[in-house]
Symmetry: C3
Subunit: 347 residues, 3 copies
Amino acid sequence: MQKTLAEIAAIVKGRLIGDGGAVITGISGIKEAKEGDLTFLANPKYLPLAAATHATAILVGKDVAIEGKAVIQTDNPSIALVTIAGILKDAFSPKIKGVHSRAVIEPGVVLAEGVGVGPNAVIDEGAKIGRHTMISAGVYIGRGTVIGENCLIYPNVTIRENIVIGNNVIIHSGSVVGSDGFGYIQMGEQHMKIPQAGTVVIGDDVELGSCVTVDRARFDKTVIGKGTKVDNHVQIAHNVRIGDNCIMVAYAGIAGSSRIGNRVIMAGQSGIAGHLTVGDDVVIAGRGGVTHDLPTCAKVSGFPAQDHRKALRQDAHVQRLSEYADEIKLLKKKVASLEEAIKTSHD
Amino acid sequence: MQKTLAEIAAIVKGRLIGDGGAVITGISGIKEAKEGDLTFLANPKYLPLAAATHATAILVGKDVAIEGKAVIQTDNPSIALVTIAGILKDAFSPKIKGVHSRAVIEPGVVLAEGVGVGPNAVIDEGAKIGRHTMISAGVYIGRGTVIGENCLIYPNVTIRENIVIGNNVIIHSGSVVGSDGFGYIQMGEQHMKIPQAGTVVIGDDVELGSCVTVDRARFDKTVIGKGTKVDNHVQIAHNVRIGDNCIMVAYAGIAGSSRIGNRVIMAGQSGIAGHLTVGDDVVIAGRGGVTHDLPTCAKVSGFPAQDHRKALRQDAHVQRLSEYADEIKLLKKKVASLEEAIKTSHD
Amino acid sequence: MQKTLAEIAAIVKGRLIGDGGAVITGISGIKEAKEGDLTFLANPKYLPLAAATHATAILVGKDVAIEGKAVIQTDNPSIALVTIAGILKDAFSPKIKGVHSRAVIEPGVVLAEGVGVGPNAVIDEGAKIGRHTMISAGVYIGRGTVIGENCLIYPNVTIRENIVIGNNVIIHSGSVVGSDGFGYIQMGEQHMKIPQAGTVVIGDDVELGSCVTVDRARFDKTVIGKGTKVDNHVQIAHNVRIGDNCIMVAYAGIAGSSRIGNRVIMAGQSGIAGHLTVGDDVVIAGRGGVTHDLPTCAKVSGFPAQDHRKALRQDAHVQRLSEYADEIKLLKKKVASLEEAIKTSHD
């Protein structure tokens, strides 16, 4: 990127205070920024950092001025940053122009206009890839799988057969979509595999991190609703249904057949047991382990997960156990004395 | 699949009530089933669902009839389903016919009859692949590794050098077998790597999920016994020995050199510390963290893991801590009153 | 390997008691060793095992003799083992001679002398690979990434664009370096992706296990200091900075922007929340979940993590809760009796 401050101010519809001709070549955090960088100040408490930054210009809120610094005032500096970042995206996203000579495109595959396929990617029979979607090196797309437009599938992702993926979906390296659900019928000592004949349906604007696993349904489908964002090492078991715009942080796991509402937040290392229903807008704290259904808007923590405020009070009691133990000991002593005193006074 | 109800009834040795000429084209869950599907009813409590299903026919228990529905009565509808599903398996399992022109087969590799190798799979020097085993796209098989018959290795799996894998083994995408164990000798501040010169031996009928890691032994071998089923994101460290027909649910991890008996169940997010011995038929509940040896048939939960019933009682006490704290407070007050009363009466 | 005991004794500068002409063909654990193996005895408590081993020779400490066995006495048998093991390394490390005809080397790539590149590895435009580094089959190296000398990148690893990796680094299969950090700005119900424009810098002598994820920074860089060893399934989020010679055991996770000192040990399934500072030489026990800053040398466990000894005492109290509950019940009874007695005596 090579843009002047005047150009950037125009893009974010902001008010520039400073030299419109200054050239911006990158974006950076306020502490790490150097000459030529654009940075941003979303929270006034970081004002001292802004005064000390080496950035060439700072995106700030309305009416914020920083002495000796070029600033662009906007209603929301974070959104302004995202806008600029979106423009910068071209500089960061992998560009794959056309189908690499070393890609493997099997018979019956349909590639829409503008699709990029990297070297050693394999697109198996009958798969359909939407416009401008990028299939990176080493990716495997199974038979009959349908991927929407403008998706970005990073290297070494595996998407199995007959999966349906929406538009603008991003899937990071090492992730696996559509592996068999973990289902067996016990016969004597042996576990007999139940074929996992279903599929996975992923909505628009979903992002899956690295080493994420999404199992295909036993029958029917495993679903991830549109706009849901999934961090690294997350496990989504067979027949799970996740609503829209959820957040699942690293190592969050959902066991088979559970249904999760919209806008649910699962913090890191949390879990939801199988066959449960979790309502909209639920928040599960880090390490929270959900073992029963949760109503809309529940905020839970601990294992087994319970109301977050109740869990905090309980933790506080646990912290004071040593005190309670001392108090019990003292009470025992006092009661013994009282018993002795009563006995004496009755003698 | 295209089979008539009469054909299916014959296969499962069941008694058909309904039109033997009706055609079945798929199988599905009782709720999701549609015209043409075969479904099953294993538990009478779902009878109302069976009455409402759109399935063309239902596998049911002996003497179960559902008004207006075609049913096939069998001793065990679940097993009947598995039988039919096994026949359907061909429709769901990836078929790889022969060695793809874009597979890489290095010198000295032995491929038995009927082996399929997908595009960009790499089979390194001296590896041996048994009859009818499928090596999918992007898989790497290391030097000297031996894989049995009828195995199914999904895309982008890595199996390192000199590993031994039995028959009918399934390994899902992203998994790694035979990476180095995590072993170092501390010398001053530095950690010096101990070469991991051992191997991994995987028994017949084992299934490994996606993103599973099985480290090779320092010396000797890491072992997974026959029939053991392993879910996604499981970690099996170096020199671990797991018995037969165990179940390890997602994120279950076993640290180095522990030995696990037969038919052990590790629920999700559970763990076993290093150098422990866990007996046959042990059940470790979700999140259970085992820190000491466990005898045969132990059922444990919590961290550190303890007898499950004891852990439940303990949890119940923790839940009541607020009550106990109130009782202690009240007792203190009463004891103070009593002390005052005694003092007064002695005056 | 084919070495005589005399040769091995010379290499480790040890004193041989036994036949210098005996030939060693491998190394093994003391229990698993067989004829032709060299083994070692680091701890005298295993002396009975040493007496019973089938190994041809044993590396032992100064002045240790074992009747009927060939031994090589050295100051530190563990280090001697590592030395021999290092020589054996050639037998265990994958050797890739030159650039495989099926590797994909894009324009502008610089491969130093002695680099090996396996089949179907992809090295993207402008990447630089240092001397004698091995890039195994199916690995993807992104544009402009720089990898140092003598590194060993195992099959199916993904290293994204513009990453910097030092010398002697080992990365195991399935791992992903440089995937996007998990960063969004919430706008209404939607989560808008913040481009992750930073990089990852990995120091010399780092080892990453299998299925490890290291996210690139939002801006600036995610850092892993030299000599740090990382086990399977570890998650290192964006902008994290880890010091030198740390140990991170399986499933340890660090959330975004936290800074970890040198020589920190994170045991299995532990975690550190985001934006924290953890001092040098901190030890976090298995399952420990750190939620606040930790000073140098802190030893913590539990969740939320607290001083390890305090956590142990607290656990002991929790174990005794049933006892405390009984004591409270008894006290209530006694106090009621006392109250009754006092009341009677006052009547």
